[in-house]
Amino acid sequence: MPDGALQPGSADPVLDVRGLKTVFKVRGGEVHAVNNVSFDLRAGELLGVVGESGSGKSVTMMSLLGLLPSPPADVRGGSVRFEGQDLLHITPEQLRAVRGGRIGFVFQDPMTSLNPVFTVGYQIMEPLRAHMGLNKNAARARAQELLELVGIPGAAQRLDDYPHQFSGGMRQRVMIAIALACDPKVLIADEPTTALDVTIQAQIIELMKELRDKLGMAVIWITHDLGVIAGIADRVLVMYGGQVVEHAPVQELFRNPQHPYTRALLTTIPKISGERARRLTVIQGQPPILGDAPTACPFRDRCDVAIARCATENPPRYDLGGGHDAACFVAKGAVDA
């Protein structure tokens, strides 16, 4: 079984996802948005998840915590081990205790992710009171600490401000403060910097690195920006068509990409050095429509090294050694077990 590649190293993983499968029921059929996704997350590490829009990155992470509206979403299989329980098979109450308490979530768009009619302080205090049972004064004191932690000046006064009185970057800091409120073991950041301009983006990334080191939590960072990943991640998952197509430590991935999709992604990064400006590189073709459970490689139509087998069989993730695996028949070192 090539899935042997996915066994964690020495340390026990904090979060261990096996064979996750999420399907959206739509008019006249189903969309297989997440297909047999497996990965693990070790304590204190930063796992980058990359892929283009619609590759299933966000849906995977939301499936973990049951945050997808159901219907239409249906988390159909797999297991999510976290702190000795399977998040897919626990009661709603137990799941609520995990959400916001043990696993924090930061979303993409800080402009819409905060409730406009409640003060920022109230929104930070909510999980503190629900999960940690703090009274109003204690929660307020902790909320102020959190705002200071994420670098918001004048934290004590700003607790009583409403979200619209904050800039985008400041709102994302508030979102991070909410996610960190109850000292989570895992922080899932779903494209936290995509909606921000570049200087603010750099500040937020810097802040997250700093917080990770200070608080020692594990972070899953979803993005479509390989530049961001190169700067912060320890390991990287590359997703395409609802599947993990490649997984490697960050340096290995950039030095030795094995999946044709990863290689194509890397060529799309624009370079400012060089003799003269070149046209931006694009990956030809469209991402697949995931109407049926895949019986072939989802990338074959856009792949320049596809072989006959790619059309008849969905490649498993081949272990390439050194914690590197790729779901491709033509990857160097891919041997059927």
């Binding site: 979530f105 979303f107 409730n115 999960h131 409403y162 996610a179």
Partner: protein, 335 residues
Amino acid sequence: MLTYTFRRLLISIPTLLFIAFVIFMLLELAPGDPMANMPLTIPPEVKEKMRLALGLGEPWWIRFPLWLKQFFIVEPQYWFDSAFGTNFADGAQRIISFQSRSPVFDTIAQRMPQTLWVVGMSYVVGVLIALPIGIISAYRQYSVFDQVGTFVSMIGFSVPPFFSGVLLIVIFSVTLGWLPSIYDTTHVVNDWASFKVQLMQMVMPVMVLALQTTAQVSRYMRASMLDNLGQDYVRTARAKGMKESVVVMRHVLRNSMIPVITVIALGIPAIFGGAIITEQIFKVNGLGQLLIIALQGNDIPMVMTLTFLFAILIVMFNLIADVLYGVFDPRIRYD
């Protein structure tokens, strides 16, 4: 906010004066003769004298300022005198109805309680039913509850009260004999038994009117909830581990109420206008009925005063709705 409210109040003065002028001129230019209802046996020269006695001989530029003076100065003085036993009015001429020859405001004060009881109560009942229906319909969109709610709202919108009112009377008064078909205005509530009678006679008119309110408000509530349920902040609240009841009843509801409160506030002036048709059907002698009779009898002072009172209420509740908007939505500040 206070400055804004004050400024709006100041602006509403010229608005209301203009409305008063328009109403006055419309009545002035409308055909009809207040003397037309007098018996034909009265000789024309006597009728002419009566007309002059009513002040109709004066041109409009004299009568309009006089009416303004009576409305804004004399009537408040009378009200103040009766409340505190003073004598500011000093026998000044009040606004007198052409038909009843009694002060217009006394008649309005007599009619107001019935209207407030029946129409006001139906509004309260309608809103209280509508809000939960709207919330549940949105939260369980396309469920059986939602489908039934949609169907009932459609009925509420499309079935006029002159049909639903008569239907109720046929069923509950004629066939079953449970409820009285006529609203007895002279009924006095002084113990439980009489309170029960009062309730019984209110049930049907209140339900007929509440059906309409419910239909409208529940649709607004549903639409507003649906707008908000899909918002990103709802996902954030769930990701924070909030209970579903907190997510819906605090996070979503608080946002959804903002437009609905405006709709509810703007509907309140209509209560005072009475429900002309429903009041007729159930023989409630409220303000709606008063206005209809006054119109039929060319009772210009009564029509003028009632219409202008409605205008004041509409202007005031527009202002209140705007202020409430600012109170409930922190993003809106008028300073």
